[in-house]
């Protein structure tokens, strides 16, 4: 059978006679990698551009149309030691990137205007105490207006739009007081300038926008980065399938290019990327990612298979019913929808703060105006004082309090192997006081391990590993990997469903089912979870027990969580014996086995009723609804797509330690966010009476505003020093 790889789905034209492809690359993390990749790819003739983006971990490639097959780039990167996958930019990411650029442009304009207006304001402030002529002061004010008004009109767009959206929906958000403050400050300054007054607040208004845009940009940038990582993850999971393009010809195509009704080939050791029904072949499939059950299921004609299942022994032909994961198990879809609806009710700390903030500030300003009028001041003076209150209380520090901490905390989490999927995850994770773990793939590693390698002579184990290289069976792959085998045994023959055999130096070697190797007698009291594979060399017989091992640091992590006074339990869809042994190994007294997705949600609801904030850590498709139902959720990188998309955080690598690291980092971040909010409030408490008393000059406003903003930013930087002793 002839297999071709088809990348045409990802290639796009970039100008005349040039084609472009984006590849997501695994393992690029330093300047060395960057130079190596760019040099290696540029060396291919006809390549016109090879540029690594280290932030997004991607390579952009361009070449003369029709001269090269994109598969060659992937092979070349493989030779260089990097795994690369074609990458398709999602529309959501395109929007984030555009938004991020727009904010940066606004920030540039606002910063330019701030600096220039400040340059004009300082002579006015010093001139007011020395001998500046009123005409000169007016001239400087008019110049300030000339710079500040257009700049504010442009750079204020993000706030004005958002405020308008909120007002049209008859709600309010932080941008409403910001917009009102900026517009009133500018309007009042223009009126004052016309009347040759001493004070104008152009500098304060535009500086406010600059500081707020810094916060807004940081927030946006964090989201953009998260989105880019999520996009890469989707690409790295190599969503391709072997589609039949002719009776005997298959093509390796991306899932996006597969339609319902197509027929795909599923070889042993491959993970199914589509939902469908088996139409030919017989095999065992591992559905642990979907159900949590570690026992293999027999698949034959008519058996439904779901995306995420691993094919174990035989080759299957599958008719596709849904290429995406749209149909999966109807029950999971329904549960997931319900859970997601419930979740959107969470209100972020910033929103809660602004909900309190806006009415208080506006009432204070109004009372100030009325108070002064009653006290006998003119309407003009009263309004000027009222606007000064608005300017001084404009939530400059408040707008920075949360995004700066979030940006720095997410960077710290990124370093310890945790990626954020949603912006408010930090706040919710910090509140978690009860952790529910799924067992399969979460507490245990997703790949198989040889448990009794130490009992087997080294040379025998090595030989078994080399023989195992000739089989596609996942258990054999685990043996080969455990033995560190590199060179396959020459002349090995695989007998489907039985094992592999070969003759080396006149001695027959066999690896496979115990019956295949004549080793049934050795299979005794081994644990129920393990798969047994036998190896025979001549008349010598050995058995290897292969199973999913616990994550290396699982026990230490559980102990660390207990030390942090967090409740722990296991909810697994697997059999009782398997869950029990894991629970006792980890010293977790609370566990439940054979739990359905609906039961998991019921348990989470029960805990919620008791007031617990649940962190759900799971990887299977059966966990997806409970991941959405929990207060906050986490998935390992090896999780099913759906779970990963639903989880708030994703952690990388084999250890479980990132779970504790993330909890620690988020608790610290929440602490700093609260502290920042208090700092901002404290500043207002000090500054507002001054503003109400009517003695605020533009100089005081500018100093107070920048002082509080810088204080909040400096405080946020403390989120960077994460404690190293995680476990």
């Amino acid at each position: 059978m002839h297999v071709t790889r088809d990348f045409s789905h990802y290639v796009r034209a970039a100008g005349e006679g040039v084609q472009h492809i984006d590849l997501a690359v695994e393992g690029v993390h330093c300047a060395g990698c960057m130079a190596k990749i760019e040099r290696g790819l540029s060396a291919i003739p006809d390549v016109t551009l090879a540029r690594v983006n280290l932030t997004d971990r991607r390579v952009a490639l361009e070449w003369k149309a029709g001269t090269l097959d994109p598969g060659r780039f992937i092979d070349r990167l493989e030779e260089l030691g990097y795994k690369a996958y074609p990458f398709e930019t999602e529309s959501a990411e395109v929007a984030e990137v555009a938004e991020s650029r727009f904010l940066l442009r606004c920030l540039g304009v606002a910063a330019f205007a701030t600096m220039n207006v400040m340059m004009l304001s300082i002579p006015v402030w010093s001139g007011n105490v020395s001998d500046m002529l009123p005409e000169q002061r007016d001239f400087f004010h008019w110049l300030s207006a000339l710079i500040a008004l257009p700049a504010a009109a442009y750079a204020g767009q993000p706030f004005f739009r958002s405020a308008w959206r909120a007002l049209s929906a008859k709600t309010t958000n932080m941008d409403v007081p910001i917009s009102i403050g900026v517009i009133l400050a500018l309007g009042m300054s223009v009126v004052e300038t016309i009347h040759h007054a001493e004070h104008a607040y152009f500098d304060a208004a535009i500086m406010l926008l600059t500081f707020l845009l810094v916060g807004r940009f940081l927030d946006q940038n964090m989201r953009r980065r998260t989105r880019a990582v999520a996009g890469n993850l989707a690409a790295l999971k190599a969503e391709t399938a072997a589609k039949f393009v002719g009776p005997d010809e298959i093509s390796q195509v991306p899932v996006a290019a597969i339609n319902p009704g197509d027929i795909v080939l599923l070889r042993p050791g491959e993970r199914c990327a589509v939902d469908g029904t088996v139409i030919e072949g017989r095999s065992e499939i591992d559905q642990s990612l979907i159900t949590g059950e570690t026992l293999y299921v027999t698949a034959e004609q008519g058996t439904p298979v779901y995306a995420g299942s691993m094919n174990i022994s035989g080759t299957l032909r599958v008719r596709v019913s849904a290429a995406s994961e749209a149909t999966l198990l109807a029950e999971i879809t329904r549960l997931l929808d319900n859970a997601l609806q419930a979740r959107s009710r969470y209100m972020r700390l910033a929103d809660r703060a602004s909900r309190l903030y806006a009415p208080v500030v506006h009432a204070t300003a109004l009372l100030t105006i009325l108070g002064w009028v009653i006290a006998g001041a003119s309407w003009h003076d009263a309004i000027v004082t009222g606007v000064a209150v608005l300017i001084i209380t404009c939530p400059c520090a408040l707008g920075l309090a949360i995004p700066t901490v979030q940006t720095i905390a997410s960077g710290a989490m990124f370093k310890s192997g945790v990626l954020l999927n949603s912006g408010d995850a930090i706040e919710r994770l910090a509140e978690a006081d009860h952790v529910i773990f799924d067992k399969t793939g979460t507490l245990t590693l997703p790949d198989l391990e040889v448990m009794n390698a130490a009992d087997i002579p080294v040379d025998i184990f090595e030989l078994a590993g080399r023989l195992a290289l000739s089989s596609h069976h996942p258990v054999a792959a685990a043996v080969a990997q455990a033995a560190g085998a590199r060179s396959p045994v020459v002349g090995a023959v695989e007998e489907a469903g039985q094992g592999v055999r070969a003759i080396v130096d006149g001695v027959e070697l066999r690896l496979g089912r115990p019956s295949f190797c004549g080793a049934e007698a050795l299979v005794g009291s081994v644990d129920p979870e393990a798969s047994i594979v036998a190896f025979s060399k001549g008349s010598e017989r050995f058995v290897l027990s292969v199973r999913q091992g616990l994550r290396p640091d699982a026990k230490a992590v559980i102990a660390a969580l207990k030390a942090r006074n967090v409740g722990i339990e296991i909810l697994s869809g697997d059999r009782e014996a398997a869950v029990k042994s894991a629970a006792s190994a980890l010293e977790i007294p609370e566990w439940r086995a054979g739990v359905t997705p609906a039961d998991k949600i019921a348990r989470i609801e029960e805990l919620k009723q008791r007031g617990a904030k649940v962190l759900m850590v799971g990887d299977g498709m059966n966990d997806a609804p409970s991941l959405a139902a929990a207060h906050v959720s986490m998935s390992p990188i090896s999780a099913a797509h759906l779970s990963q998309a639903t989880a708030d955080l994703v952690f990388l690598g084999r250890p479980l330690a990132p779970v504790v690291a993330a909890i620690d980092a988020s608790r610290k971040a929440l602490h700093l966010m609260r502290q920042n909010l208090w700092l901002a409030i404290g500043y207002n408490v000090l500054a507002v009476p001054v503003a109400i008393s009517g003695v605020v000059t533009p100089l005081i406003a500018a100093a107070a505003m920048s002082g509080s903003s810088i204080l909040v930013m400096l405080n946020s930087l403390r989120a960077r020093s994460t404690s190293r002793e995680i476990v």
């Binding site: 300047a31 960057m34 040099r39 932030t55 330019f112 110049l143």
Partner: protein, 55 residues
Amino acid sequence: MEILVILVPLALMLGGAGLVAFLWSLKSGQYDDLDGAAWRAIADDEPAPKAPAKR
């Protein structure tokens, strides 16, 4: 004070030039890969560009 006639436009022009330079650098994608750019500055031998690299 006649010096203002020169100094004020000069200051605005300098600021404006800075803004234009910033907008140009943003447009040409110089903020797309901040991590990579930090390393590129100290990389010793960039592969020689085979064609005008930027889109």
